[in-house]
Amino acid sequence: MRLGMPGRGFRLGALLGLAVAACGGCGGGADSPPVLERSVPPVEGLSADALRGLLRDGSAPATVVNVWATWCLPCREEFPDLVQLEREFRPSGVRVVLVSADFPDRRGEVEAFLAEQGVGFRTFLKQGPDMEFIDTLSAQWSGALPGTFVFDARGALQWSVEGKTDLPTLRRVVETVLAGNASGRS
């Protein structure tokens, strides 16, 4: 699997530190929330080839892929649900793969948004031609953002949606895919 183009980490702690410093005398003391040192793992490049490898590596019972962008309003609106989904299903080994479709010169904005959302797992920036990337996820996807795709343990697409989705829907789909794996459905 080629993941190429290692990115820069982004430390939310620095931003929060600045915010606290700017706040100065606006309360605080023992009741103040602690300054969190949350770091966002480097955003890695992801080509269609690498995506195919990732989907078929057999390391997760289900993989949820979401393609988003910082400037995309519905993407931003649904993003907390995807982060929550990852938290809830991490113990089951479910993998949430967030792929930013921002242009590479917006890596800073991508990392800032990931930090703001409290994303602590590896995420990606789309690399290479659009059409191959789109069709690797689903031939039915037009390429409109956001797009969310749920694959089973074998890397077979089980469900997908173009446009905003939500946590209850995703929970239901992931649980159904996990149940399908367990029952040995082919």
């Binding site: 590479p104 059409m131 789109i134 037009s142 409109a144 077979a156 989705t165």
Partner: protein, 202 residues
């Protein structure tokens, strides 16, 4: 939300039915007679914009980074089309409530700044985009002289970097139409901003 596909037993009750997708190759432009407000104050339809050798319909908007990235190429190509007998109409189907940058005053400013030589109109109900099955901006539909769709999809294969374009899909399709040849690559896809449809009027 457009549920694209549900495989095997994941089907649960209450799912949204999949959308029909875009009009197919060979189809005529739907809602071609619907007049839409242009940036110059006139009201124009797709039929009004049609050229003797074909018609290029582009769903576009102001706010989308993909539109911005492709815009200089789009304007150059569309201007070339109008000079060579292919009519052009650029249609903004987005709800400006969601993206204020897509409201008419901003459209007028953009058309002026970027030197649009063709209509840039508002699809005030988003119904024209719905009828085409368009989902994103930019998304192009090229019709030949008989009014049949001959190309649907992206402008080329690299929004971000013109120097790295290897396939000029729309330019090649335009040349084929003007030469009376069959378009080689009829449908392509690219990442784009999803259209923010206005709520349907029931």
């Amino acid at each position: 939300m457009r549920v694209l596909g549900i495989v095997a037993t994941v089907v649960l009750s209450g799912w949204v039915a999949p959308a029909q997708g875009a009009i197919g190759i060979g189809a005529k432009a739907p809602m071609a007679g619907v007049a839409m407000e242009n940036v110059d104050g006139r009201r124009l339809s797709i039929a009004d914009a049609a050229g003797p050798k074909g018609t290029l319909v582009i769903f576009s908007c102001n706010h989308c980074p993909y539109v911005k990235a492709w815009e200089s190429r789009m304007v150059a190509l569309a201007t070339d089309c109008t000079k060579r007998g292919i009519g052009v109409i650029v249609i903004n189907p987005n709800d400006p409530e969601a993206y204020p940058e897509d409201a008419m005053p901003a459209m007028q400013q953009r058309a002026k700044e970027k030197g649009y030589t063709f209509p840039y109109v508002v699809d005030a109900t988003s119904d024209v985009a719905r009828a085409f099955g368009a989902t994103r901006t930019p998304e192009v539909f090229l019709f030949d002289a008989t009014g049949a769709l001959v190309y649907h999809g992206a402008i080329d294969d690299n929004a971000q970097d013109e120097a790295k374009v290897t396939k000029r899909y729309l330019a090649d399709a335009v040349e084929a139409v003007l030469a009376g040849r069959e378009v080689a690559t009829k449908e392509t896809k690219a990442l784009g901003c999803s259209i923010k449809f206005r709520k349907p009027v029931s």
